[in-house]
Amino acid sequence: MARKTIKVDYLARVEGEGALTVTIRDGQVKEAQLRIFEPPRFFEAFLRGRAFSEAPDITARICGICPVAYQMSAVHAMEDALGVTVDGPLRELRRLIYCGEWIESHTLHIYLLHAPDFLGYEGAIDLARDHPDIVERGLKLKKAGNALMTLTGGREVHPINVKVGGFYKAPRRRDLAAMADDIKRARDMALATVRWTATLDFPDRQRDYELVSLSHADEYPMNEGRIVSNRGLDIAANQYDAHFEEIHVAHSNALQARIRERGAYLVGPLARFALNFDKLTPLAREAAHAAGIAPVCRNPYQSIVVRAVEVLYACDEALRIIESYREPDRPSVPVAVRAGVGYAATEAPRGLLYHRYRIDDEGTILEAQIVPPTSQNQASVEEDLKVLINGWLDLPDEELRHRCEQTVRNYDPCISCATHFLDLRIDRG
């Protein structure tokens, strides 16, 4: 039987890191297999034998796009093991640096990676040729996120200022206050981004996902909260392994996470938005409403609008923190080393990021477990491809390939954690 294969036209820098194969038989998608590469597995091994205090800096290097998420899950898990609580201005600063990462990461994805899919462009360069003003707005908005990360994190790539117990150095109030006008401008741009993404032409596709995210009584979740779902899950982070499992699938050397006895689930903006809509700021809620996004949005292609709403929220939240900030008495709380196991889940831009560490009485890491959002979403990506692209199978291969890529991009798979080099094959038999 003749096999027709379509490949994305690039030379993989690292062969075999990421591949998607879609198999079509009798007019239906028979199988969609996504193979992703997972640096966290390497880092789990690398962390063993290192000091607990090194975890934030080491895990920050897993991903250039979401280093803060890895740092935050690492410090919270270590503080859980050590019985340390970080609150007050230090807790606020952690939210502020996370706001910076959400703004930066979401904006990169919205403008440079995902929007071209909806507008019929091959990529950001073509979009910039026809709409330089739009791309420039995206770059300026992203830069505001970078600035927040740099001010709080010390460095925008792999921030170095975060430590177990707080920060090495807390920013001065006047330095944060000096950013307020920039963040207000960023908020205007974020609102414009919501309005712009709402005008895109979304495929009319929906799926009934189990949505999983953190939930907190008082705030839209970033660093803390219980892990909840729209199907009744409600657990603390230390129960994650009892309710979720990571399994090997034959076509991938990465692990796929599933809810035990239920299967695939969805983490990320759609899940956070649906499960925490009432915790958004009024401005973000109104913008979502005006954009025509229901509080529970099941169309994964509209995730681009939800990301924009979260950018708007992050700007609002950053301004609140900047305006109410009081310099802490000390940049970190004291940490006494003891043996223990610590668990934490925080909300990376792409979704729930779970860490677990076991340390000995000298603070040496004995075990590390890292479950990134992209491996949690991997099964949902495959199910989306099996279900959502069926109406497009009559399209020419090139257009079908584009639809598959757009569908994978709904998830904003982390460029370091997952499909760094996606090799796409469509097999029509």
Binding site: Y10, R129, I415
Partner: protein, 185 residues
């Protein structure tokens, strides 16, 4: 053109030729300093030869070249374009792959399109080539932008530099200094 031929060739002369001549290696004069100038080392510190750009930047920062700021980055497009925005003279050092022998140093002038297959690309991220083209489209490409691509052998996590690339680091540092006609502090 074969990949190995791309590897050996310098870019063709620019129309008019004067600036290209003036900026040939060793011809940058401190008496006529360029505008804000930048050396950018791109890569991931834990991924084998991908670290070479950042190692070279680190070496250059030990004795910073006069008039140049040396920075390290992961190569993400928006960050690169932001860096470009403040400079009119940029030297980039990155790992690349063209089929030449590991450690081969390629000099590429971004006044001309960069060879697309040489640098990391994906459907989920923008690599160096896309960053340069995006900057060009937005009118934000520095007036001079030279790329030194070091032929890589491996990108495995935790592998460190391959012997051939490690051996090339001194030469890359020298080539960058020669390119910018630097006086060293």
């Amino acid at each position: 053109m074969t990949k190995s031929k791309i590897a050996r060739e310098f870019p063709p002369p620019r129309p008019g030729g004067e600036r290209a001549l003036a900026l040939s290696p060793g011809f940058v004069s401190r008496a006529q300093p360029p505008g804000p100038a930048l050396v950018i080392g791109i890569g991931h510190p834990d991924r084998g030869d991908d670290a070479v750009g950042r190692i070279v930047a680190g070496r250059l920062n030990e004795r910073p070249p006069v008039g140049f700021r040396v920075v390290e980055t992961d190569g993400e497009a928006a960050k690169l374009i932001d860096l470009f925005g403040g400079a009119d003279d940029v030297i980039i050092v990155d790992a690349g792959r063209s089929g030449a022998a590991a450690g081969t140093i390629h000099r590429l002038d971004a006044a001309f399109p960069l060879p697309r297959p040489m640098f990391a690309m994906s459907s989920h991220a923008l690599g160096l080539v896309e960053s340069v083209e995006l900057a060009r489209t937005l009118g934000q490409l520095p007036e001079r932008c030279i790329v030194f691509a070091v032929e890589a052998a491996r990108f495995d996590l935790g592998a460190g530099l391959s012997p051939a690339v490690a051996e090339a680091v001194d030469d890359v540092v020298a080539r960058v200094l020669e390119e910018i006609g630097a006086e060293v502090t």
